[in-house]
Amino acid sequence: MEIKFDKVCYGVKGKNILNDLSFEAKSTKITALIGPTGSGKSSVFDLLTLKRIPKDGKISIEDYEITRKGILSSVLAYHSKIAYIPSHPEDTFSYDSILKEFFSVLEKYNYNLVKRRQHIEDALGIVGLHSSYLYKDPFSLSSGELRLISLAIALSYNPKVLLWDEPTIGLDREGKKALISLLTRLKSRYQKTILIASHDIDFVNQIADEIVVLKEGKVLLSGKKKDVFSESEKLMKEGIDLPKMVQFQKEVWERKKVKLGYQSDKNDLVKEILRKS
C-alpha cells in the first residue's frame, strides 16, 4: 500500500506549514522523514491520520484519496488499514491495563472476542513480549516497554501502513537494537509500508531505505539513503545532521584524500577502513 503526496499544502491560521509537498513511500520499504525542527514532519502524520485536512493537493494511499474535501470513502475502513504511533504514546493510554488498551482499539474494527485474543497474541509475539504484559498497568512500564506495547497495539488489526513519529525516544541501546530488527521484519516479511519521522540520524542511517528531507514544508532532497547522504554539502548548509559514519567518511576524504565507500553498518565501515589503510 503506497503513500503518495502530490503537491500538498497545509497551514494553520495564515502560517504555511507544508508547501507543495510531493513524495512517495512504498511498501516493503522504510521511508524516513528528516528535517530541522518545525519543518513539517508531524503535520505529514496529522494529514495521513485525518486529524487535519490539506488546503490543497492530494494524498493517495492505495485506493484512498485525501484532498481538501476530506476523504470521500469510509473513514473507518481507511483507519483500519493504517496505524499511527505518536512520539509520546504513553500520553494516549487511558486504561489501567494493557489488555483494555488493545480491546479499545480492536472494538472499533469489529473483531469478535475469539479473533481479538488471537490478534493480540500474534501482535505481542511479533514484538517479542510475553502475554503477561496484558495485565500490567501501563503506568508501571518503562518507556522502552511502552514503545513495544504501542507497536503491538498498532499491529493488532493488521494495518498495511505503519506511521511512527520519533520511534527512538527514550530507548537505550538494547531497545534500539530490538526496534531495528523488528522494523526490518515488518517491512520484508510482513510487507508493510513504513513511514517514520526521526531526529536520530544515525538510527535513520541504519534502518531507512528511502529518505525524504523536509525543509520549510517542501522536499529538499529525496531518494535512496545512500544518494541523499552523499549530498553532504547541501545537507550541512541546511543544518541537517549527517550520520556519524558519513561525517567520518568525509573527514577521511578531506584530510587524506582516501575514498571510503558509503556504509550504514559500523562493522562494514571497519572492514572498509582495514582495506584502505
Binding site: 525542527t37 518545525g38 508501571s140 520519533e166 537505550d172 531526529h199 567520518f248 584530510r255 589503510s277
Partner: protein, 266 residues
C-alpha cells in the same frame, strides 16, 4: 565554588520497586556533568528528587541547604529541571508571556527586556511572538529551556531536554551554556544519546540505582566496559576506535574524527 549537590546514602522506592539504593553523589559548582544510564536505572527519579517532585528524607543538600518540604520553594528558585516533553508544563498562550511569567513569579523588574535579551542571546528571538500550540516538539523543548534559564538558576538539570532539537542548534545552545558554566552555573545533563557526552567534561554512569562510574569523559571512554557493561552505546568515534584497536590498527582510543583519521593514515 563548592558543592552544589551532596547526596549521601539515598534510597528510593516506587511502588515496591527499588529505584535508587544507597546512592551517593556530589556535584561541584561551575561544572558540566553528563549522566548516562540504561532505562530504569534511576536517572529521571534522581532529577525529580533534586527538584523536590519526589519526596525523600535522606541526606540531600542543595547549595549547602538540606532539601526538605519546608524549603522547597527556595530550592526551586536555584534548581531548574527541564524535561523531554514539556508541553504539559506551560501555563500561558504565547512564548513571550511564558518567559515573562517565570520572571513575574519571582517579582523581577524590567521583565520584557530580560526576556528579549535571553532570547536573542540564544538566537531564538523569532520564537517570542509564537503561540504555544503552534510550536513543534523541538521548539517546545527550546522554550522550556529558555524558561528555566530566564531566572538565572544555579543548577540546571536537563532530562533528555533537547532530544528533538537538531545538532547544529544544540551545538549553539551548549556553547552558550558552557559559557554560563564558567560564570557560575552547574549543568547536569541526562541523556540517552552518547554523543552528548562531548558537550561536557565530567561523566556519571548509573545502573540499577547505583553510581558505577564517576570521572572525566576521557577516562570513561578509555574503557569500553564502562559503557557496554551497562547497556550503553559508546559515542561513535570511541566505538570505532575500539574496534580498530582490536585489529591492531591503532594503539590508543581516539576521541575526535581528526585524531582517528591521522592515527589510521600516518
Amino acid at each position: 565554588m563548592g558543592k552544589i549537590v551532596e547526596i549521601q546514602n539515598l534510597s528510593f522506592t516506587y511502588t515496591n520497586r527499588p529505584i535508587l539504593t544507597n546512592f551517593n553523589l556530589s556535584l561541584m559548582s561551575n561544572r558540566f556533568y553528563t549522566l548516562l544510564g540504561p532505562t530504569g536505572s534511576g536517572k529521571s527519579t534522581l532529577a525529580r528528587i533534586l527538584i523536590g517532585l519526589e519526596y525523600s528524607h535522606d541526606y540531600i543538600k542543595i547549595d549547602g541547604k538540606f532539601l526538605n518540604p519546608k524549603n522547597i520553594e527556595g530550592i526551586r528558585r536555584i534548581v531548574k529541571l527541564v524535561t523531554e516533553s514539556p508541553r504539559g508544563d506551560f501555563v500561558t498562550d504565547t512564548v513571550s508571556k511564558e518567559l515573562e511569567f517565570e520572571l513575574k513569579c519571582i517579582e523581577e523588574k524590567k521583565i520584557p527586556e530580560k526576556v528579549k535579551s535571553l532570547a536573542s542571546k540564544y538566537g531564538f528571538e523569532y520564537l517570542l511572538s509564537r503561540k504555544m500550540w503552534e510550536l513543534s516538539d523541538g521548539e517546545t523543548q527550546i522554550v522550556a529551556l529558555l524558561a528555566a534559564l530566564v531566572t538565572n538558576p544555579k543548577l540546571l538539570i536537563l532530562d533528555e531536554a533537547l532530544s528533538q532539537v537538531d545538532r547544529k542548534t544544540k551545538d549553539r545552545i551548549f556553547t552558550l551554556l558552557k559559557e554560563s558554566v564558567k560564570e557560575g552555573l552547574t549543568v547536569l545533563q541526562i541523556t540517552q544519546n552518547s554523543e552528548d557526552v562531548f558537550y561536557g567534561n565530567e561523566m556519571i554512569i548509573i545502573d540499577e540505582g547505583q553510581v558505577v562510574f564517576e570521572g572525566s569523559v576521557k577516562d570513561a571512554l578509555h574503557s569500553e566496559r564502562n559503557f557496554k557493561d551497562h547497556q550503553l552505546e559508546l559515542p561513535f568515534i570511541a566505538d570505532l576506535s575500539n574496534k580498530l584497536r582490536y585489529y591492531h590498527k591503532i594503539s590508543d582510543i581516539q576521541i575526535s574524527d581528526k585524531k582517528l583519521v591521522d592515527a589510521l593514515w600516518k
